[in-house]
Symmetry: C2
Subunit: 386 residues, 2 copies
């Protein structure tokens, strides 16, 4: 690159159909560019209250401790796990992809005794296996799992898992980074105790914020910890002095003001559309994609009942060279799709139809372009061989 | 408020002369509203490299581990402290305001043995006291201190403190949240080992990012830890697989793409102006303010040699009612200034002249408005009394 850093950066215009970030509506980008105000300005405190209300509705909860962690989804994972666990606590974590694996790592660093429960990548978590593990191991305090595995495109039955955890007196920690607003989430109905999501998936907001929510039971648990939460920044008993209800707001950290403008606008757009309508739109886009892929002779990795509409894992045909195909989509056609991770690297593409990405015209453009790009690659191979 | 959350939020237009966030240039806001691209897009990786180069220049360092933590300055504090300390480690921390006090709390939660060293709020850290403490206590591994105390408007002699720490073989952790680009910082010349700053002070970028830098000595220390860094998200050995030099970038977390557009533009503007020029501009604005305050019969809290140009602590006259005065500035005149914190609550105002705030027209507007608002309050008091 011959750029000097003294030149302004002009980002290219990509159609984001990877595992996130997703396309952001112009209205959300413009909201983000609003004039910065103070993090204790009464106008800003009002904005925070509205964000909290809209997050509660999106999560299906009345949890008072519902807010946006001032960092990406991975920091939300740290927030949920580090607030709940104490050194020596037993936590059962289901691993069927990258993010369950990461949750084990986060809990281990926090000093927990981690009991991992493995499932083949590309398959859902089996609730029966959770129950068996809870029977086998005594004193498991927490069950951690991923609702929508972004690395494989699999959804698991959160309601069933939460019901079993409750039966055995364990608190649940749920990764909802990719699920929020793309498939139904009903925290209160299901009885989930701690959840984290991300702004940059089905909410179609720029990355950098992690909506979280803690049940009253989880909050009581945190209040009665024997040891302090390892991270001052993430301690919800501290953060809530700033994000909390009707009390005076105390300074905790400087909120990412403009990022929260964007989150407000993206949540506002979600609620204007309606959550049910958003979920139906994701479903319709997925069905359109699945049908088009079949016509192209391509197959999805995941069995039909467990497919995430918003994250489609496509098996890469043996005749196609993965990296050059994705590079061609990006560089020649300005479309981003995702690579496979871990054991699925080189074996799948991950196509996200998230938020603004879940629109018929984007699905059509992808199908058409994918067809062309694969055809081009095959023709190049033939011309090289001849 | 009779707003519905289904209405878009339109922020008021404030002149931000508090302790941060500072005013943001329109160019930076527009950069933030650029189309979102993927966090692994080659164009984005190029942007990250330029940000790294510009941060190195701003910090006065060639440290390879220089990047922006994806969260506000308080998370940067967590990042520096939690990467370096291990349970049981002794750390000496100077406390002369809110942020030294916070660093003690962060280190305690990380399991360190904290030796706090107190100085009166409003006075600088005495390097001789640091040396005495290092002599008295054996095995102190780290010295933590705040370069520019945002809560009091005091600067301390970072070069002298770092030289003493080195003499006794301790690594230094420096809070540069408010100092970066407002007063000189020379990490390499001074021998600072870990530093964190904030985007929303003298860089005049929206809040939400924390530039950090670690010396090669600090990085070696982290690599040879006995225990793992408590936070997966903050572990620099992990983060650098994404922010790192010439190697292939590995996915770690989803970077806050649009926030980094803004940081790039604000750093670009800093380097176009020149760091020396930026520092001189902060100094000139401060002198203009100090002169104007004297004319109004107001005094600064801090002795002249230790005053921060970018954060001016003004003694509140006994005839003035603090909270209503600040409320009037905000609501009637759209100017934000900061309140005192801790023992200085109700006793000082904190006027930030940071980044874009350090301009003569803003200083004039503040002086004029402060004069009017104080006059109004005195007149109201007289009319109530008569």
């Amino acid at each position: 690159m011959n750029r000097s850093y003294l030149e302004s950066f002009l980002p290219p215009s990509r159609l984001l159909l990877g595992p996130g970030p997703s396309p952001v509506a112009p209205e959300v980008l413009m909201a983000m560019a609003g004039p910065t105000i103070g993090h204790l300005d009464p106008a800003f405190i009002g904005l925070m209250s509205e964000i909290k209300t809209m997050l509660q509705l999106a999560f299906g909860t009345t949890n008072d401790v519902t807010f946006a962690v001032a960092g990406p989804g991975s920091l939300g994972m740290d927030a949920c796990v580090l607030n709940l666990i104490e050194p020596g606590d037993k936590i059962l974590i289901a691993r069927n992809g990258v993010f369950g694996t990461r949750m084990c790592e986060v809990a281990l660093r926090g000093g927990a005794q981690v009991i991992p429960l493995d499932f083949t990548w590309g398959t859902p978590i089996d609730p029966q296996a959770i129950e068996d593990a809870l029977k086998e191991h005594k004193d498991i305090k927490f069950v951690g799992f991923v609702h929508a595995e972004t690395s494989t495109g699999v959804q698991s039955d959160a309601a069933a898992i939460a019901a079993i955890a409750q039966k055995y007196g364990a608190l649940t920690i749920m990764d909802a980074v990719t699920s929020l607003a793309g498939i139904p989430i009903k925290l209160d109905e299901w009885g989930i105790d701690a959840v984290y999501s991300g702004s940059q998936k089905c909410l179609s907001c720029p990355p950098g914020l992690s909506p979280v929510s803690f049940s009253p039971r989880a909050v009581e648990h945190v209040k009665h910890r024997k040891s302090r939460v390892l991270s001052w920044f993430l301690d919800i008993t501290q953060v809530m002095s700033y994000w909390g209800g009707d009390k005076a707001r105390a300074y905790h950290h400087t909120a990412p003001v403009n990022s929260l403008y964007a989150l407000h606008e993206s949540l506002r757009r979600l609620h204007v559309e309606g959550i049910e309508a958003s979920i139906a739109r994701h479903r319709a886009a997925h069905l359109q994609l699945a049908e088009g892929l079949t016509a192209l002779g391509l197959e999805l990795l995941v069995d039909e009942p467990f497919r995430l509409p918003q994250l489609n894992a496509i098996k890469i045909p043996s005749t196609i060279n993965d990296a050059p195909l994705r590079a061609s989509l990006l560089n020649d056609f300005n479309i981003e799709i995702g690579a496979g991770l871990g054991p699925l690297a080189g074996k799948i593409w991950r196509v996200g139809l998230m938020g603004e990405g879940a629109r018929p015209q984007h699905v059509s453009r992808l199908l058409q372009t994918l067809d062309n790009a694969m055809e081009n690659q095959r023709n190049e191979a033939i011309s090289l061989a001849s």
